[in-house]
Symmetry: C2
Subunit: 303 residues, 2 copies
Amino acid sequence: VKESDLHEWLRDKIPPGKGVLLGIGDDAALLDGDGPLAAASDILVEGVHFTRPEAGPDQIGAKALNRNLSDMAAMGLEPRWCLVSAAVPKGTTEKFLKTMIESMTAAAGRFGACLVGGDTARSPGPLVVDVTVLAPVGELSPVTRSGAAAGDRILVTGTLGGSSLGWHLDFVPRVSEGVHLNRHARPTAMIDISDGLDRDLCRILDASGVGARLDGDRIPLSQAARRLSARTGRDPLDHALTDGEDFELLFTVPPERAAGLESSDELAVPVTDIGEIVPRGTRIVVRGGSGFELKGEGFDHTF
Amino acid sequence: VKESDLHEWLRDKIPPGKGVLLGIGDDAALLDGDGPLAAASDILVEGVHFTRPEAGPDQIGAKALNRNLSDMAAMGLEPRWCLVSAAVPKGTTEKFLKTMIESMTAAAGRFGACLVGGDTARSPGPLVVDVTVLAPVGELSPVTRSGAAAGDRILVTGTLGGSSLGWHLDFVPRVSEGVHLNRHARPTAMIDISDGLDRDLCRILDASGVGARLDGDRIPLSQAARRLSARTGRDPLDHALTDGEDFELLFTVPPERAAGLESSDELAVPVTDIGEIVPRGTRIVVRGGSGFELKGEGFDHTF
C-alpha cells in the first residue's frame, strides 16, 4: 500500500463533518471553533493494548477512537473532531487499513464526531495508532477531576473488571452518559476508568485533595470479573478495582443531586452509588465488618 | 521508568502556556479558543524518520515538534498548543525521556507555543512520537494549497536537498517566515517541503488545478545536496527535487507581490523565485535549452 494512494482514498471517503472548514488534504485542517476547546490524545500500541489476530482491524480502529471519545465523556463534553496518526507495519493490506479507518469514522460518527486529519508512516515494528480528539466546550461546563468535596457521593456507570476478556475491544464509550450527567447532575469531578477503579479514583482524590470510603459490596462486578476470578483465583472485587480498561465513568456529586440517578430512566446504562467522599487522609474500601486501603495502583506503563 | 512518575514530573515541569485554561493532568486540556482553529498531526518513527544513536533525545524531540510547527508555518499561522503522544521502548532511561521532552518544550517555546497534553505507552518495538499542533487562526487568513493561479511566481525559502546528511534533525521550521509572508506577501498557495520539491509542488498544482514551469538553474541547491551528489553520482538538482525533509516553504504569489521578496531584509532566510505557475497540462523543469517533466514523485511511505 502506498501512502499517497491511501490519502487519496481517504479524501474521497471522509464525509464533510460538522464545523469542518477544510478537511483532509492540506497542511492542516481548519475547524470552525468558537470559544474554549478541550483536547486530548491517546496512543494505542500493538502488543500492549491489543494483539493480532485476536483483534481485527475493525476492533483496533474502534478501540483507538473510543478510548479518546471516553476522555471527552469524562469531561462531560461532546467530541467533535479527530486527528488520527498511524505507524503501519510493512505488509499491512489495503483491506486491513481501509477497514480500520472505516471503523474509526463509524466510531466517531456514532457521536456526531468526524475525522479531520492525521498522518501515516511506515513502522518497522508494531502497528501504532494515536488519536487526538477535540471538543468545543460550547454552553457546557467541563467536568475536571478536581472538584470533589467531602460529603459527595461516588458513582460509577456500568460494571467493572475483566475487560481483557473482550470488553476492551468492544466497549461503547459513555459519551451520551457523560454529557447527560454534565447537563443534569453536574458532577463535581469525573474521570473515565482506564487504569482501574482504585487508581482512577485516587486520581480524583489527589486532584481534589479529599479522601474516600467505598462500599465494597456495592461496587458493580462485571460477569467478566467473575469469570476471570474463576481462572486467576483472585477476588472478583480485586479485578474490579485494578484491571483497568473498563472505560466506565466514575464521578462525584453532592447527595441531593445523586438521589435518583440510580433509578433514572434517562441513562441507557446503570449507575451505582459506591461510596462517599470524605476528608483527606482516608482511602478505604469497607466490606462486611472490615476494610482495606486503596493503593492508588492499577495499570501503569513501565518503560 | 514508570509512566505515573513521568507524568508527575511533566505536570511540574511544563509552564502554564498562553491560553491554557487547564493543562496536563486531567482527561483533556482546556484551551482558550476563539474562532477558527487549524489542527495537524505528524508521526515520527524510529528506523524511518531517525535512527539511534545517530539522533540523540534532544534531536528526536526537536524533530517531532518542528515537523508539526512546519505544517502550521505552511498555513501561515502561529502554532499555539501541542499534544504529544509517545510509544516508548522498554529500557528507555528517564534521562533520555526527560531530555526529549525538554527539547520539545524548547522547540515549541521558541515560537510561543506550549505542550498541553498527550499520552505515553510502552512500545514493544521502536520509539514512536506523534504530535498534534493547534493554531488559532486569529486575524490571519490561512494559506491553503489550492489558490495558485496561472501567472503567479513560485518561490521557495532556503536551499534544498541532502537533508539526510543532518538538516533533517537540526532544521528550524519556517514559522516566522510563514507568518511574515502571510501578513505581507499574501501567498496564493503554500506548502512545506517534506517529501521533496517535485512531489510537494505537484500537491499545490493538483489542489489548484494549474501547471508549473520551473527554472532548473534557479532552484537553490544546498551544500548537502552537492555533498550527497558527490557520493551518489546523481545530479544535485535531482536531490533538491526529490530528497524531502527540507522543511522549507514553497509558495506562489502574484508577480507584483513577488517583486522584492528575494531582496527583502525582513526575512531571516533567503527566498528564491524558481519559476512560474502556468495553465494546467504543463509540469516542467527547464534547464539550459532543454527540459524534463516533474513526476509528482518524492518520498512516499509504503506499507
